[in-house]
Protein backbone atom coordinates (compact mmCIF):
# COMPACT_ATOMS: atom_id res chain seq x y z
CA UNK A 1 0.00 0.00 0.00
CA UNK A 2 1.34 3.42 -0.91
CA UNK A 3 1.68 6.40 1.36
CA UNK A 4 0.22 9.88 1.24
CA UNK A 5 2.41 12.96 1.26
CA UNK A 6 1.61 13.48 4.97
CA UNK A 7 2.59 9.92 5.84
CA UNK A 8 5.81 10.24 3.87
CA UNK A 9 6.84 13.44 5.63
CA UNK A 10 6.10 11.98 9.07
CA UNK A 11 7.94 8.75 8.21
CA UNK A 12 10.99 10.67 7.00
CA UNK A 13 11.14 12.70 10.21
CA UNK A 14 10.64 9.68 12.45
CA UNK A 15 13.37 7.73 10.65
CA UNK A 16 10.97 5.02 9.56
CA UNK A 17 10.54 3.49 6.12
CA UNK A 18 6.78 3.35 6.54
CA UNK A 19 4.05 4.67 8.80
CA UNK A 20 0.33 3.98 9.07
CA UNK A 21 -2.60 6.13 10.17
CA UNK A 22 -3.21 5.84 13.90
CA UNK A 23 0.43 5.11 14.67
CA UNK A 24 2.02 7.30 17.34
CA UNK A 25 5.62 8.29 16.82
CA UNK A 26 8.28 10.76 17.85
CA UNK A 27 9.49 12.87 14.96
CA UNK A 28 12.16 15.51 14.48
CA UNK A 29 10.78 18.98 13.98
CA UNK A 30 12.31 21.20 11.27
CA UNK A 31 10.84 24.45 12.48
CA UNK A 32 8.79 25.72 15.37
CA UNK A 33 6.91 28.98 15.51
CA UNK A 34 5.77 31.10 18.42
CA UNK A 35 4.26 34.57 18.56
CA UNK A 36 3.96 37.41 21.06
CA UNK A 37 0.70 36.05 22.45
CA UNK A 38 2.03 32.56 23.33
CA UNK A 39 5.78 32.87 23.84
CA UNK A 40 5.68 34.06 27.46
CA UNK A 41 3.76 30.96 28.55
CA UNK A 42 5.98 28.74 26.38
CA UNK A 43 9.09 30.20 28.02
CA UNK A 44 7.67 29.56 31.46
CA UNK A 45 6.84 25.95 30.65
CA UNK A 46 10.25 25.47 29.01
CA UNK A 47 11.90 26.64 32.22
CA UNK A 48 9.65 24.40 34.35
CA UNK A 49 10.78 21.48 32.21
CA UNK A 50 14.30 22.25 33.35
CA UNK A 51 15.17 23.29 29.83
CA UNK A 52 18.44 25.15 29.92
CA UNK A 53 19.34 24.59 26.31
CA UNK A 54 17.26 24.86 23.19
CA UNK A 55 17.66 21.75 21.06
CA UNK A 56 18.32 24.03 18.09
CA UNK A 57 17.81 27.81 18.36
CA UNK A 58 18.11 28.19 14.58
CA UNK A 59 14.94 26.15 14.09
CA UNK A 60 12.87 28.53 16.17
CA UNK A 61 11.03 31.51 14.71
CA UNK A 62 9.54 34.16 17.00
CA UNK A 63 7.15 36.72 15.56
CA UNK A 64 5.51 39.85 16.92
CA UNK A 65 2.11 39.80 15.26
CA UNK A 66 -0.96 39.43 17.45
CA UNK A 67 -0.81 42.74 19.31
CA UNK A 68 1.35 44.89 17.04
CA UNK A 69 2.20 47.49 18.08
CA UNK A 70 1.52 46.68 21.74
CA UNK A 71 -2.05 47.63 22.60
CA UNK A 72 -1.65 47.92 26.36
CA UNK A 73 0.78 47.27 29.19
CA UNK A 74 -0.04 43.56 29.42
CA UNK A 75 0.61 42.95 25.73
CA UNK A 76 3.77 45.08 25.89
CA UNK A 77 5.01 42.77 28.65
CA UNK A 78 4.25 39.66 26.56
CA UNK A 79 6.26 41.12 23.71
CA UNK A 80 9.08 42.12 26.05
CA UNK A 81 9.32 38.59 27.45
CA UNK A 82 9.68 37.23 23.92
CA UNK A 83 12.28 39.86 22.98
CA UNK A 84 14.37 39.10 26.05
CA UNK A 85 14.12 35.36 25.50
CA UNK A 86 15.27 35.80 21.89
CA UNK A 87 18.31 37.76 23.07
CA UNK A 88 19.16 35.41 25.92
CA UNK A 89 19.10 32.35 23.68
CA UNK A 90 20.48 34.06 20.62
CA UNK A 91 17.52 33.31 18.39
CA UNK A 92 18.35 34.72 14.97
CA UNK A 93 14.85 34.38 13.57
CA UNK A 94 13.24 36.89 15.86
CA UNK A 95 10.94 39.32 14.03
CA UNK A 96 10.65 42.72 15.65
CA UNK A 97 7.72 45.12 15.36
CA UNK A 98 8.18 47.02 12.09
CA UNK A 99 10.16 44.19 10.47
CA UNK A 100 7.56 41.47 10.78
CA UNK A 101 4.06 40.53 9.72
CA UNK A 102 1.41 37.98 10.56
CA UNK A 103 3.38 34.80 11.14
CA UNK A 104 1.61 32.75 8.48
CA UNK A 105 2.15 35.44 5.85
CA UNK A 106 5.70 36.16 6.96
CA UNK A 107 7.25 32.70 7.30
CA UNK A 108 6.59 31.54 3.73
CA UNK A 109 7.68 34.95 2.37
CA UNK A 110 10.97 34.71 4.23
CA UNK A 111 11.62 31.17 3.06
CA UNK A 112 11.38 29.61 6.53
CA UNK A 113 8.86 26.96 5.50
CA UNK A 114 9.81 24.60 2.72
CA UNK A 115 8.38 21.55 0.96
CA UNK A 116 8.81 18.35 2.93
CA UNK A 117 9.28 20.13 6.27
CA UNK A 118 7.70 19.01 9.52
CA UNK A 119 6.60 22.21 11.21
CA UNK A 120 4.82 22.97 14.45
CA UNK A 121 3.57 26.32 15.67
CA UNK A 122 1.84 27.45 18.81
CA UNK A 123 -0.93 28.78 16.63
CA UNK A 124 -3.79 26.79 15.18
CA UNK A 125 -3.34 28.19 11.67
CA UNK A 126 0.15 26.76 11.36
CA UNK A 127 -1.49 24.38 8.88
CA UNK A 128 -1.20 27.27 6.36
CA UNK A 129 2.29 26.06 5.41
CA UNK A 130 0.83 22.95 3.82
CA UNK A 131 0.49 25.19 0.76
CA UNK A 132 4.21 24.67 0.06
CA UNK A 133 3.96 20.91 0.54
CA UNK A 134 5.03 20.85 4.19
CA UNK A 135 3.35 18.96 7.03
CA UNK A 136 2.53 21.75 9.45
CA UNK A 137 0.29 21.68 12.47
CA UNK A 138 -0.74 23.78 15.41
CA UNK A 139 0.08 22.89 19.01
CA UNK A 140 -0.17 24.57 22.39
CA UNK A 141 2.58 26.19 24.42
CA UNK A 142 3.49 23.07 26.38
CA UNK A 143 3.99 20.94 23.26
CA UNK A 144 6.03 23.74 21.73
CA UNK A 145 8.20 24.00 24.85
CA UNK A 146 8.70 20.23 24.68
CA UNK A 147 9.93 20.54 21.11
CA UNK A 148 12.23 23.42 22.09
CA UNK A 149 13.78 21.20 24.75
CA UNK A 150 13.81 17.87 22.91
CA UNK A 151 14.01 18.86 19.24
CA UNK A 152 11.22 16.40 18.60
CA UNK A 153 7.58 15.82 19.47
CA UNK A 154 5.09 13.00 19.38
CA UNK A 155 2.55 12.82 16.58
CA UNK A 156 -0.32 10.56 15.73
CA UNK A 157 -0.22 9.79 12.02
CA UNK A 158 -3.52 11.14 10.69
CA UNK A 159 -5.80 9.53 8.17
CA UNK A 160 -5.95 11.61 4.99
CA UNK A 161 -9.01 12.96 3.22
CA UNK A 162 -8.35 13.71 -0.43
CA UNK A 163 -10.21 16.75 -1.76
CA UNK A 164 -10.26 17.37 -5.51
CA UNK A 165 -11.46 20.54 -7.18
CA UNK A 166 -12.23 20.16 -10.87
CA UNK A 167 -12.76 22.61 -13.70
CA UNK A 168 -12.08 26.21 -14.56
CA UNK A 169 -12.39 28.78 -11.77
CA UNK A 170 -15.05 31.38 -12.57
CA UNK A 171 -14.14 35.06 -12.24
CA UNK A 172 -14.26 36.35 -8.61
CA UNK A 173 -14.13 32.82 -7.22
CA UNK A 174 -10.95 32.34 -5.17
CA UNK A 175 -9.20 29.98 -2.80
CA UNK A 176 -11.36 31.33 0.01
CA UNK A 177 -14.49 30.17 -1.79
CA UNK A 178 -13.03 26.71 -2.36
CA UNK A 179 -12.27 26.19 1.30
CA UNK A 180 -15.64 27.65 2.34
CA UNK A 181 -17.27 25.24 -0.09
CA UNK A 182 -15.52 22.33 1.61
CA UNK A 183 -16.38 23.63 5.08
CA UNK A 184 -20.02 24.01 4.13
CA UNK A 185 -19.96 20.42 2.93
CA UNK A 186 -18.11 18.60 5.72
CA UNK A 187 -18.62 20.95 8.68
CA UNK A 188 -16.35 22.11 11.49
CA UNK A 189 -15.53 18.60 12.63
CA UNK A 190 -15.59 16.97 9.21
CA UNK A 191 -11.83 16.41 9.24
CA UNK A 192 -11.25 16.03 12.96
CA UNK A 193 -7.74 14.60 13.64
CA UNK A 194 -7.25 14.08 9.88
CA UNK A 195 -5.11 15.60 7.13
CA UNK A 196 -6.80 17.33 4.21
CA UNK A 197 -4.94 16.86 0.94
CA UNK A 198 -5.94 19.18 -1.89
CA UNK A 199 -5.70 18.35 -5.58
CA UNK A 200 -7.61 18.22 -8.86
CA UNK A 201 -7.01 20.23 -12.02
CA UNK A 202 -8.40 23.46 -10.54
CA UNK A 203 -5.41 23.69 -8.18
CA UNK A 204 -3.10 24.59 -11.07
CA UNK A 205 -5.15 27.82 -11.47
CA UNK A 206 -4.96 28.65 -7.77
CA UNK A 207 -1.93 30.86 -7.08
CA UNK A 208 0.21 30.44 -3.97
CA UNK A 209 -1.79 33.13 -2.13
CA UNK A 210 -4.96 31.12 -2.78
CA UNK A 211 -3.30 27.90 -1.67
CA UNK A 212 -2.22 29.52 1.60
CA UNK A 213 -5.84 30.58 2.11
CA UNK A 214 -7.11 27.06 1.49
CA UNK A 215 -4.63 25.34 3.81
CA UNK A 216 -5.07 28.08 6.41
CA UNK A 217 -8.68 27.13 7.02
CA UNK A 218 -8.12 23.37 7.10
CA UNK A 219 -8.17 23.68 10.88
CA UNK A 220 -11.67 25.13 10.66
CA UNK A 221 -12.75 21.62 9.63
CA UNK A 222 -10.89 20.22 12.64
CA UNK A 223 -8.02 18.99 10.45
CA UNK A 224 -4.54 18.45 11.76
CA UNK A 225 -3.20 19.94 8.57
CA UNK A 226 -4.05 20.91 5.04
CA UNK A 227 -1.57 20.10 2.33
CA UNK A 228 -1.15 20.73 -1.37
CA UNK A 229 1.10 18.46 -3.38
CA UNK A 230 3.98 20.60 -4.63
CA UNK A 231 4.05 21.42 -8.35
CA UNK A 232 5.82 23.84 -10.68
CA UNK A 233 4.12 26.79 -8.98
CA UNK A 234 5.37 25.66 -5.57
CA UNK A 235 8.88 25.25 -6.88
CA UNK A 236 8.90 28.69 -8.42
CA UNK A 237 7.72 30.13 -5.11
CA UNK A 238 10.25 28.38 -2.87
CA UNK A 239 13.37 28.18 -5.01
CA UNK A 240 14.16 31.87 -4.73
CA UNK A 241 13.42 31.96 -1.03
CA UNK A 242 14.96 28.75 0.32
CA UNK A 243 18.25 28.86 2.18
CA UNK A 244 18.37 25.14 2.98
CA UNK A 245 17.59 21.98 1.00
CA UNK A 246 14.04 20.74 0.67
CA UNK A 247 12.18 17.69 -0.61
CA UNK A 248 9.14 17.55 -2.84
CA UNK A 249 6.98 14.64 -1.70
CA UNK A 250 4.01 13.29 -3.60
CA UNK A 251 1.28 10.89 -2.61
CA UNK A 252 1.46 7.42 -4.13
CA UNK A 253 -1.29 6.48 -6.54
CA UNK A 254 -2.35 3.62 -4.31
CA UNK A 255 -2.44 5.72 -1.13
CA UNK A 256 -5.13 4.75 1.31
CA UNK A 257 -7.41 7.75 1.73
CA UNK A 258 -10.08 7.46 4.38
CA UNK A 259 -12.37 9.58 2.22
CA UNK A 260 -12.32 11.20 -1.19
CA UNK A 261 -14.33 14.29 -2.11
CA UNK A 262 -14.77 15.84 -5.53
CA UNK A 263 -16.09 19.29 -6.30
CA UNK A 264 -16.80 20.88 -9.64
CA UNK A 265 -16.02 24.59 -9.44
CA UNK A 266 -17.32 25.71 -12.84
CA UNK A 267 -20.74 26.88 -11.69
CA UNK A 268 -19.55 28.26 -8.37
CA UNK A 269 -20.17 31.79 -7.19
CA UNK A 270 -18.51 33.53 -4.24
CA UNK A 271 -19.50 32.13 -0.85
CA UNK A 272 -20.04 33.63 2.58
CA UNK A 273 -20.00 32.05 6.05
CA UNK A 274 -22.68 33.49 8.30
CA UNK A 275 -22.35 33.87 12.07
CA UNK A 276 -21.37 32.03 14.23
CA UNK A 277 -19.48 29.26 12.55
CA UNK A 278 -17.17 29.04 9.51
CA UNK A 279 -19.20 26.10 8.20
CA UNK A 280 -22.41 28.12 8.10
CA UNK A 281 -21.83 28.68 4.40
CA UNK A 282 -24.22 30.05 1.78
CA UNK A 283 -23.75 31.36 -1.73
CA UNK A 284 -23.93 35.11 -2.13
CA UNK A 285 -27.06 34.79 -4.23
CA UNK A 286 -29.06 33.16 -1.45
CA UNK A 287 -27.80 35.43 1.33
CA UNK A 288 -30.36 38.21 0.97
CA UNK A 289 -29.81 41.78 2.08
CA UNK A 290 -27.21 41.98 4.86
CA UNK A 291 -26.13 45.50 5.80
CA UNK A 292 -22.75 45.91 7.47
CA UNK A 293 -20.96 48.37 9.75
CA UNK A 294 -17.41 47.30 9.13
CA UNK A 295 -15.25 45.48 6.60
CA UNK A 296 -11.91 43.93 7.54
CA UNK A 297 -9.53 42.97 4.75
CA UNK A 298 -6.49 41.15 6.05
CA UNK A 299 -5.32 38.30 8.30
CA UNK A 300 -3.29 35.15 7.75
CA UNK A 301 -6.14 33.94 5.54
CA UNK A 302 -6.43 36.86 3.11
CA UNK A 303 -3.83 39.52 3.92
CA UNK A 304 -1.49 38.94 0.99
CA UNK A 305 -0.74 41.28 -1.89
CA UNK A 306 -2.98 39.30 -4.25
CA UNK A 307 -5.86 39.74 -1.79
CA UNK A 308 -5.42 43.50 -1.55
CA UNK A 309 -5.28 43.74 -5.33
CA UNK A 310 -8.50 41.80 -5.68
CA UNK A 311 -10.29 43.87 -3.04
CA UNK A 312 -9.21 47.06 -4.82
CA UNK A 313 -10.33 45.71 -8.16
CA UNK A 314 -13.75 44.79 -6.78
CA UNK A 315 -14.19 48.34 -5.48
CA UNK A 316 -13.96 49.57 -9.09
CA UNK A 317 -12.46 52.90 -7.98
CA UNK A 318 -15.54 53.78 -5.93
CA UNK A 319 -15.66 55.21 -2.42
CA UNK A 320 -16.44 53.31 0.76
CA UNK A 321 -20.14 53.44 1.65
CA UNK A 322 -20.81 56.30 4.12
CA UNK A 323 -22.13 53.95 6.81
CA UNK A 324 -19.17 51.57 6.65
CA UNK A 325 -15.69 51.55 8.16
CA UNK A 326 -13.10 49.66 6.14
CA UNK A 327 -9.97 48.41 7.86
CA UNK A 328 -7.25 47.07 5.60
CA UNK A 329 -4.50 45.10 7.31
CA UNK A 330 -1.61 44.20 5.01
CA UNK A 331 -0.29 40.80 6.12
CA UNK A 332 3.34 41.81 6.49
CA UNK A 333 5.73 44.73 6.17
CA UNK A 334 6.68 43.36 2.77
CA UNK A 335 3.04 43.23 1.67
CA UNK A 336 2.58 46.78 2.95
CA UNK A 337 5.65 48.02 1.08
CA UNK A 338 4.53 46.39 -2.16
CA UNK A 339 0.98 47.67 -1.71
CA UNK A 340 2.42 51.17 -1.37
CA UNK A 341 4.65 50.90 -4.43
CA UNK A 342 1.86 49.41 -6.54
CA UNK A 343 -0.43 52.26 -5.60
CA UNK A 344 -2.94 50.04 -3.78
CA UNK A 345 -2.54 51.89 -0.50
CA UNK A 346 -3.26 55.29 -2.05
CA UNK A 347 -6.28 53.90 -3.84
CA UNK A 348 -7.65 52.39 -0.65
CA UNK A 349 -6.95 55.52 1.37
CA UNK A 350 -8.57 57.69 -1.31
CA UNK A 351 -11.61 55.42 -1.16
CA UNK A 352 -11.94 56.05 2.56
CA UNK A 353 -10.35 52.94 4.07
CA UNK A 354 -8.00 52.99 7.03
CA UNK A 355 -4.70 51.14 6.71
CA UNK A 356 -3.61 49.26 9.81
CA UNK A 357 -0.05 48.17 10.47
CA UNK A 358 0.50 44.47 9.70
CA UNK A 359 -1.00 42.67 12.70
CA UNK A 360 -3.58 40.10 13.70
CA UNK A 361 -5.38 42.92 15.47
CA UNK A 362 -9.09 42.84 14.65
CA UNK A 363 -9.11 39.18 13.55
CA UNK A 364 -9.08 37.99 17.14
CA UNK A 365 -10.81 41.02 18.60
CA UNK A 366 -7.44 42.23 19.84
CA UNK A 367 -7.28 45.83 18.67
CA UNK A 368 -7.34 47.99 15.51
CA UNK A 369 -11.05 47.59 14.91
CA UNK A 370 -12.85 45.74 17.71
CA UNK A 371 -16.63 45.53 17.26
CA UNK A 372 -19.19 47.12 19.59
CA UNK A 373 -22.42 45.46 20.66
CA UNK A 374 -24.67 44.28 17.83
CA UNK A 375 -22.32 45.58 15.13
CA UNK A 376 -21.97 43.54 11.97
CA UNK A 377 -18.71 42.97 10.16
CA UNK A 378 -17.76 41.33 6.89
CA UNK A 379 -14.26 40.00 7.26
CA UNK A 380 -11.77 38.11 5.11
CA UNK A 381 -10.51 36.31 8.23
CA UNK A 382 -11.17 32.70 9.20
CA UNK A 383 -13.37 32.59 12.32
CA UNK A 384 -16.73 34.08 13.14
CA UNK A 385 -17.42 32.54 16.54
CA UNK A 386 -19.40 34.46 19.15
CA UNK A 387 -17.27 37.35 20.41
CA UNK A 388 -14.36 36.58 18.09
CA UNK A 389 -13.95 40.17 16.88
CA UNK A 390 -15.42 42.03 19.80
CA UNK A 391 -18.61 42.20 21.82
CA UNK A 392 -20.39 38.83 22.15
CA UNK A 393 -23.47 40.30 20.45
CA UNK A 394 -21.50 41.43 17.37
CA UNK A 395 -21.76 39.40 14.17
CA UNK A 396 -19.04 38.38 11.75
CA UNK A 397 -19.58 37.18 8.19
CA UNK A 398 -16.61 35.64 6.37
CA UNK A 399 -15.79 36.04 2.69
CA UNK A 400 -12.94 36.42 0.24
CA UNK A 401 -11.39 39.79 -0.60
CA UNK A 402 -13.42 40.39 -3.77
CA UNK A 403 -16.74 40.24 -1.91
CA UNK A 404 -15.20 42.34 0.86
CA UNK A 405 -14.22 45.07 -1.62
CA UNK A 406 -17.66 45.11 -3.25
CA UNK A 407 -19.42 45.13 0.11
CA UNK A 408 -17.27 48.03 1.34
CA UNK A 409 -18.64 50.12 -1.52
CA UNK A 410 -22.26 49.05 -1.32
CA UNK A 411 -22.65 48.91 2.47
CA UNK A 412 -24.15 45.44 2.30
CA UNK A 413 -22.70 42.03 1.49
CA UNK A 414 -22.47 42.15 -2.28
CA UNK A 415 -21.08 40.51 -5.39
CA UNK A 416 -18.29 42.40 -7.20
CA UNK A 417 -20.42 42.48 -10.34
CA UNK A 418 -23.00 44.62 -8.54
CA UNK A 419 -20.53 47.49 -8.07
Amino acid sequence: MGMTISEKILAAHAGKPEVKPGQILFAKVDLSLATDIVTALTVRVFEEMGGRMLADPDRIVLVNDHYVPAKDIASAKLSKTMREFARRYDIKNYYEVGRAGICHVLLPEEGHVLPGDLIIGADSHTCTYGAVGAFATGVGSTDLAAAWALGELWFRVPETIRVNFWGKLPRWVTGKDLILKLLGEIGVEGALYKALEFGGDTMAQVDMAGRFTICNMAVEAGAKTGIVEPDALTERYVERRATRPYTLWHSDRDSAYCQSLDFSVEAMEPLVARPFSPDNVVSLGSLGNVEIDQVVIGSCTNGRLEDLRLACEAMHGRKVHPRVRVIVVPGSQRVLALAISEGLVSRLVAAGAIISPPTCGPCLGGHMGVLADRERCLSTTNRNFVGRMGDPSSEVYLSGPAVAGASAVLGRIAHPEEV
Binding site: L41, G140, T142
Partner: protein, 167 residues
Protein backbone atom coordinates in the same frame (compact mmCIF):
# COMPACT_ATOMS: atom_id res chain seq x y z
CA UNK B 1 -4.87 7.81 37.35
CA UNK B 2 -7.68 7.39 39.86
CA UNK B 3 -11.27 8.51 40.14
CA UNK B 4 -12.88 11.89 39.65
CA UNK B 5 -16.25 12.57 41.15
CA UNK B 6 -18.21 15.78 40.60
CA UNK B 7 -21.31 17.64 39.60
CA UNK B 8 -22.17 17.99 35.92
CA UNK B 9 -22.24 21.33 34.08
CA UNK B 10 -23.55 20.66 30.61
CA UNK B 11 -22.99 22.46 27.26
CA UNK B 12 -23.58 21.78 23.57
CA UNK B 13 -21.56 21.09 20.41
CA UNK B 14 -18.59 23.02 19.01
CA UNK B 15 -17.69 25.02 22.11
CA UNK B 16 -14.69 26.95 20.77
CA UNK B 17 -11.66 28.28 22.61
CA UNK B 18 -12.72 31.89 21.96
CA UNK B 19 -15.81 31.01 23.98
CA UNK B 20 -13.84 29.16 26.66
CA UNK B 21 -11.55 32.15 27.13
CA UNK B 22 -11.96 35.20 24.87
CA UNK B 23 -8.77 36.69 23.40
CA UNK B 24 -9.41 39.91 25.32
CA UNK B 25 -8.24 38.08 28.46
CA UNK B 26 -5.33 36.28 26.84
CA UNK B 27 -2.77 38.93 27.65
CA UNK B 28 -2.36 36.81 30.77
CA UNK B 29 -1.73 33.09 31.12
CA UNK B 30 -2.14 32.96 34.89
CA UNK B 31 -5.00 30.75 36.07
CA UNK B 32 -6.00 33.40 38.62
CA UNK B 33 -6.56 35.99 35.86
CA UNK B 34 -8.21 33.59 33.41
CA UNK B 35 -10.52 31.59 35.69
CA UNK B 36 -13.07 34.37 36.41
CA UNK B 37 -13.66 34.69 32.63
CA UNK B 38 -13.82 30.99 31.77
CA UNK B 39 -16.69 30.17 29.38
CA UNK B 40 -17.76 33.83 29.54
CA UNK B 41 -18.97 34.14 25.94
CA UNK B 42 -20.65 30.72 26.02
CA UNK B 43 -22.44 31.20 29.32
CA UNK B 44 -22.10 34.53 31.16
CA UNK B 45 -23.37 32.78 34.32
CA UNK B 46 -20.58 30.18 34.32
CA UNK B 47 -18.32 31.83 36.88
CA UNK B 48 -21.22 32.03 39.35
CA UNK B 49 -22.35 28.45 38.70
CA UNK B 50 -19.05 26.59 38.73
CA UNK B 51 -17.85 24.89 41.90
CA UNK B 52 -14.53 23.29 42.62
CA UNK B 53 -14.47 19.73 41.33
CA UNK B 54 -17.28 20.10 38.77
CA UNK B 55 -17.20 18.01 35.61
CA UNK B 56 -17.85 19.87 32.37
CA UNK B 57 -19.88 17.82 29.91
CA UNK B 58 -20.20 18.87 26.27
CA UNK B 59 -21.11 17.68 22.79
CA UNK B 60 -18.96 17.29 19.70
CA UNK B 61 -15.71 19.04 18.84
CA UNK B 62 -15.14 20.63 22.24
CA UNK B 63 -12.28 23.16 22.22
CA UNK B 64 -12.23 23.88 18.49
CA UNK B 65 -10.58 27.01 17.15
CA UNK B 66 -7.57 28.83 18.51
CA UNK B 67 -4.69 26.79 19.95
CA UNK B 68 -4.54 28.96 23.07
CA UNK B 69 -3.46 26.90 26.06
CA UNK B 70 -5.15 29.58 28.14
CA UNK B 71 -8.38 27.64 27.45
CA UNK B 72 -7.67 24.47 29.46
CA UNK B 73 -5.78 26.62 32.00
CA UNK B 74 -8.90 28.76 32.48
CA UNK B 75 -11.14 25.70 32.97
CA UNK B 76 -8.72 24.06 35.37
CA UNK B 77 -8.33 27.34 37.23
CA UNK B 78 -12.10 27.68 37.52
CA UNK B 79 -12.20 24.33 39.33
CA UNK B 80 -13.20 21.99 36.50
CA UNK B 81 -11.84 18.54 37.40
CA UNK B 82 -12.41 16.89 34.01
CA UNK B 83 -14.20 17.40 30.70
CA UNK B 84 -16.39 14.71 29.18
CA UNK B 85 -17.41 15.25 25.55
CA UNK B 86 -18.60 13.36 22.49
CA UNK B 87 -15.39 14.45 20.74
CA UNK B 88 -12.59 16.98 21.21
CA UNK B 89 -10.70 19.27 18.85
CA UNK B 90 -7.18 17.92 18.59
CA UNK B 91 -5.08 20.86 19.79
CA UNK B 92 -7.28 21.38 22.82
CA UNK B 93 -7.07 17.66 23.55
CA UNK B 94 -3.29 17.68 23.64
CA UNK B 95 -3.13 20.94 25.58
CA UNK B 96 -5.47 19.71 28.30
CA UNK B 97 -3.66 16.40 28.78
CA UNK B 98 -0.35 18.27 28.77
CA UNK B 99 -1.39 20.50 31.65
CA UNK B 100 -2.99 17.60 33.54
CA UNK B 101 -6.67 18.32 32.89
CA UNK B 102 -8.25 14.91 32.17
CA UNK B 103 -10.49 14.70 29.10
CA UNK B 104 -12.76 11.79 28.47
CA UNK B 105 -14.51 10.89 25.24
CA UNK B 106 -17.84 9.15 25.66
CA UNK B 107 -20.87 9.86 23.53
CA UNK B 108 -22.98 7.58 25.71
CA UNK B 109 -22.15 9.33 28.96
CA UNK B 110 -22.91 12.71 27.41
CA UNK B 111 -26.26 11.60 26.01
CA UNK B 112 -27.45 10.12 29.28
CA UNK B 113 -26.65 12.92 31.73
CA UNK B 114 -28.24 16.19 32.75
CA UNK B 115 -26.86 19.33 34.32
CA UNK B 116 -26.52 19.03 38.09
CA UNK B 117 -26.22 15.25 38.18
CA UNK B 118 -23.43 13.45 40.00
CA UNK B 119 -20.83 11.80 37.76
CA UNK B 120 -17.86 9.63 38.55
CA UNK B 121 -15.03 8.93 36.12
CA UNK B 122 -12.83 5.92 36.74
CA UNK B 123 -9.85 6.57 34.49
CA UNK B 124 -8.14 3.28 35.28
CA UNK B 125 -11.11 1.10 34.43
CA UNK B 126 -12.26 3.33 31.57
CA UNK B 127 -15.77 3.80 32.94
CA UNK B 128 -18.09 6.66 33.73
CA UNK B 129 -20.83 6.28 36.33
CA UNK B 130 -23.84 8.52 36.47
CA UNK B 131 -24.45 8.35 40.23
CA UNK B 132 -27.72 10.25 40.02
CA UNK B 133 -29.24 7.72 37.63
CA UNK B 134 -27.23 4.59 38.33
CA UNK B 135 -25.97 4.39 34.73
CA UNK B 136 -22.62 3.29 33.45
CA UNK B 137 -20.84 4.19 30.21
CA UNK B 138 -17.62 3.17 28.52
CA UNK B 139 -14.81 5.57 27.84
CA UNK B 140 -12.73 5.76 24.67
CA UNK B 141 -9.34 4.60 26.00
CA UNK B 142 -6.36 6.97 25.80
CA UNK B 143 -3.53 6.10 23.44
CA UNK B 144 -0.71 4.57 25.47
CA UNK B 145 1.55 7.61 25.27
CA UNK B 146 -1.20 9.88 26.61
CA UNK B 147 -1.82 7.51 29.50
CA UNK B 148 1.83 7.82 30.35
CA UNK B 149 1.75 11.63 30.17
CA UNK B 150 -1.42 11.84 32.23
CA UNK B 151 -0.11 9.36 34.81
CA UNK B 152 2.96 11.55 35.26
CA UNK B 153 0.75 14.57 35.86
CA UNK B 154 1.43 16.24 32.53
CA UNK B 155 3.94 16.97 29.81
CA UNK B 156 6.37 18.93 32.00
CA UNK B 157 7.23 15.87 34.07
CA UNK B 158 7.34 13.73 30.93
CA UNK B 159 9.88 15.99 29.23
CA UNK B 160 11.94 16.27 32.41
CA UNK B 161 12.24 12.50 32.48
CA UNK B 162 13.19 12.29 28.81
CA UNK B 163 15.81 15.00 29.25
CA UNK B 164 17.23 13.17 32.28
CA UNK B 165 17.41 9.92 30.29
CA UNK B 166 19.51 11.67 27.65
CA UNK B 167 22.12 12.88 30.13
Amino acid sequence: MGKIRGRVLKYGDNVDTDGIIPARYCTSFLAADLAPHAMEDVDPEFSRKVRDGDILVAGRNFGCGSSRENAPLALKGAGIAAVVAKSFARIFYRNAINIGLPLVESEEAVLTCQEGEEMEIDLDRGLIYNRSRGLQANVQPYPFLMQEILAMGGMVAFVKKRLAERN
